[in-house]
Symmetry: C2
Subunit: 237 residues, 2 copies
Amino acid sequence: MNIADQTFPAIDGANEDRAQAIRDQLRDAIVDRRLAPGTKLSEGEVGTLFDVSRTVARAALQMLSFEGLVRTERNRGAFVANPSPEEARQVFASRRLIEPGIAIAAAGRMTSADVAAFKTQLEEEGRFIAERGPTARRSEIKASGDFHLLLASVAGNVILQRFMEELVARSSLVIALYGRSGISSCGHNEHVQILEALEAGNAERASALMLHHIDHIEADLDLRVRSGPALRQALEF
Amino acid sequence: MNIADQTFPAIDGANEDRAQAIRDQLRDAIVDRRLAPGTKLSEGEVGTLFDVSRTVARAALQMLSFEGLVRTERNRGAFVANPSPEEARQVFASRRLIEPGIAIAAAGRMTSADVAAFKTQLEEEGRFIAERGPTARRSEIKASGDFHLLLASVAGNVILQRFMEELVARSSLVIALYGRSGISSCGHNEHVQILEALEAGNAERASALMLHHIDHIEADLDLRVRSGPALRQALEF
DNA sequence: TCAGAAAAGATTGCATACGATTTCCACCAG
DNA sequence: CTGGTGGAAATCGTATGCAATCTTTTCTGA
């Protein structure tokens, strides 16, 4: 898969930062798996695709590199990240630490508008699961992550929200690489249960459910190292 | 305080990324309060000071902006962040959520080398407390943060480690802005106790002590809003 | 035929240039 | 004296050019 095969919507009104707009679109593409791990993102190509100079493209890639979605090597360029099993474990360890707390914080702040937003979100998630095909599957992974991001936004801590954005994005990459089967239907169920607990104001239960939910997601991964370290490194691209 | 009044050690062997080296030095200056919140960091000045082009200076400032230590405004430039009381609360809420977990993880991984490193660290911290004067005070705040960073590195999760780097740096800013008195001697004591628990392998106790420790740090802050919101916003720079 | 060296091509790192935007300040009308 | 106005200076956003580095291809000698 090459970045040149991608199509991106034109950048909207240049009022906002163009580099940021490019970062958002690239991030979506990575999280949606339209860009496979390891894909080279050359400054020139990105610039041409979005019709900006290398300067701006470079800034966008630098941002993605901070978020851990892109790995940059000096004098070699930027590549879609290819997280190792160890990195994958750390991503989920971080989520286990943070998300139960976010659930507790959110439970104390849910408004009826928030509940409505969650219901809309979960409905959409359900639709993608019902559908079949690779496109629906991508949308499903994305929607599943959006549930967690919505929760983080309700929790009302912008710092934790940003951390979660990074963790969810990296999780998508990890699931793409190491995912085994249909976490989805099971996961959707768990999302529903978490929402019920939140709606009932049962913070403890929401927190515990969240912890189990993360465990389930991680349990579906196959994080065994596939070959000896030497070969592994040699093939790592 | 102007950035031009600062002196910075020359950047070392250009093997590493120069922008990164500049970021590190600026971060130290901000955390040490040699650069006051609100100070303008113009690309040109930074570039001149470090003898690089604006391109590189800009990249360094962009990194700091991601970490929340610098706020950038379009067409206006970069300024040392000036966290609001609300931001301050969120920084500490995040730490309360993350650090007890880090303490638990670290407790299970402490080696004797780690213990030695902690002891060295705490000795140094003690020395700065014994000394008096503004320079020692700065070093003391820095050393206090380093304790938490050391703990994060022992915990062995590089993602959480990076989150902690950001949180500790932002905490230093917050303490500089809203700190009241001598958290230090008290804080040092608590660090010692935490280390004792870690050494004894008592993860639960280390975690609980950490939580209290963070509470104490935050309790020493004066986060009351000083004036009406209208004036406050007008004066916010 | 194949390993190794040399050259060609591509890509990044960085500096610089130029237009656009904002800030500052002198000036003037009310 | 206050408040608005115009232009100059400063600063930012972005494109582009050149040197350094890496990659690939080609050539040579065994």
